[in-house]
Amino acid sequence: MNYHSASPAALPPAKTIDIEGIKTSYHVAGTRQPIVFIYGGNFGTADSAPSAHAWNLNFVPLAERFQVIAFDKIGQGFTGNPLRDEDYSMAAVVRHAAAFIKTLGIPPAHIVGHSRGGYAGARLALEYPHLVRSLTIVSSGTLSPRVSTNEVALSKCPHPPYTRESARWIYEGYCFSPKSVTDEWIEKVYEVLQLPKYRESVRKMVDEQLGTRVFLPELAKQKRETLQWLREGRLQRPTQVVFGRNDPTVAIEGAFDLFDAVAAHQRKTELHIFNQAGHFSYREHPERFNALLGDFVDLIDKWSE
């Protein structure tokens, strides 16, 4: 069986684990070196709501070669919300992710983070290097010093919140090809949008303004620190930067900036750009993405021989 081939496939049933009082949902399959996927976005958005399913085209084929783990971040997917208002922050997302990986008791993992998840992955590698074997950063405007154009591409969704239509409109806006936004993908997003606890996170972020009072100002501070740390050479794990050429929200120049910052200090740094790929190259080109990622994990093994 060919582990690189990707076909729409269901994740194995979710497991749950208590992480510092947060009921955390995750999927795990396979053996050997662990790959941990961290998807993008954040809690409290009413027109899109990713969950671990975002990785299904990668999880299932790669599980034939590796131990593959996809979890729901704090406040997202099927994982519980932050317990305190001040934890509606990326710092809490990073702490939760680190505690989750520690609790699993797995060897240092190959972290694959997308968008805001790429930022979380980089913070893991910076703050908890002992948990991280390598880092793959996919299309992360959050880690780019350049301007992100999400609001240009995605504001004023013409459909009501919490609908399949709004979710489809958002993801089609992110992608190169609308065809890559499958009904199955949207159905999983819709499922999360209907969860009472997810609605509560929207109420917190929007109505109680935790988004503008806590989340964004905290992120702005930490982003400055993170970019500074990258320039200083604190990221000390093999890293690959993977961007889409046609991402309406993240300028391709950001990929070069990120590569330059890391590559200046870390020999094992690679830059990869996919064509006809928007924000979700791993869903728009799963076979070539999986080949690139699977071989990178193998490569780390070879390097350590």
Partner: protein, 299 residues
């Protein structure tokens, strides 16, 4: 552990030498080395790929010839052109019974790969263009001073080591095995013939054919596009080309070819496959496999 055999054969009237080996029945991969025979200040040939070929031989049927005028392959009587090297590659594949191949071309080998992809799209399954300044738009380039003052005599061991170092990020890959092979190549009849020809005709014919091949590429990119999956593999510290040049080449091809990728490998100069063989293998092998898997799903 895979191994490669040094083979010699006669294609037409041309004595041809190549490295061949790998997994029986595996997809074929053609490696076209760089360097312009008689002009480039080190003597290239299949030996330039070094150990990196062995890692490809683990999963591919590797075909790595000395191209005309290099190593043990005759220059031939016709003027050296991109088309002539391309036709040589076509003849070699036909003689080897290969009808579908992944092409990996370094330097001028990348431009030959483009010629093959444009003229034999059914044969080329995918193309990796590696650190190939002559494949990218030239524009009003500055005069090239990188190799302007080589130690004499040209193609001596010292002179070749100097050139290889000037082209590299680090000198660490320039070992005795490489220099022995380069010096042996400089003693061969193909190299001597190429040097004699470079003084007269081949510089002109080759330069013209390079710009002719690029023109064909730009024309294709304005119209139907390159018909095979293409990736551009550039090195972070290549003294002979800029990252921008590689990206413009990529961006131009990507406008019409869905399956196209761009990569930068860190801490490497022109001979990226020697300086970072593992990362090079990662990028090139995963592209070939990804393209095969993608086609399998489409089918």
């Amino acid at each position: 552990m895979a191994s490669l055999n040094l083979q010699t054969k006669t294609l037409g009237s041309r004595r041809t030498r190549l490295l061949r080996g790998g997994k029986a029945g595996a997809p074929a991969a053609l490696f076209l080395h760089g360097g312009i025979p008689g002009a480039t200040l080190f003597c290239s040939g299949a030996h330039i790929w070094g150990e990196s070929l062995l890692s490809f031989a683990e999963e591919l049927d590797v075909i790595a010839p000395d191209c005309p005028g290099s190593g043990g392959t005759d220059l031939g009587e016709e003027p050296l052109t991109v088309e002539a090297i391309g036709s040589f590659a076509v003849a070699l594949l036909a003689d080897s019974g290969v009808t579908s191949v992944e092409v990996v071309g370094h330097d001028i080998g990348g431009l030959v790969g483009i010629w093959l992809a444009l003229n034999h799209p059914k044969t080329v399954r995918s193309l990796s263009i590696v650190a190939s300044p002559m494949s990218a738009p030239v524009g009003d380039a500055l005069d090239d001073i990188l190799l302007v003052a080589p130690p004499r005599s040209l193609w001596s061991r010292e002179s070749q080591a100097w050139a290889l170092e000037r082209l590299s990020y680090s000198h660490m890959h320039i070992d005795r095995t490489l220099l022995d092979a380069c010096v042996a190549a400089s003693d061969g009849e193909p190299h001597r013939h190429a040097v004699a020809m470079a003084k007269t005709s081949s510089a002109k014919t080759l330069g013209g054919s390079m710009s002719r091949t690029r023109s064909l590429l730009w024309e294709a990119c304005r119209n139907a596009g390159v018909q095979v999956p293409v990736q551009i593999v550039w090195a972070s510290h290549d003294p002979v080309t800029t990252r921008e040049a590689g990206f413009v080449l990529y961006d131009t091809i990507a406008a019409k070819q869905r399956a196209s990728q761009f990569h930068v490998i860190n801490r490497a100069g022109s001979l990226v496959f020697r300086e970072q063989p593992s990362a090079f293998h990662h990028v090139v092998a995963s592209f070939g496999r990804g393209v095969r898997d993608e086609k399998a799903r489409a089918a």
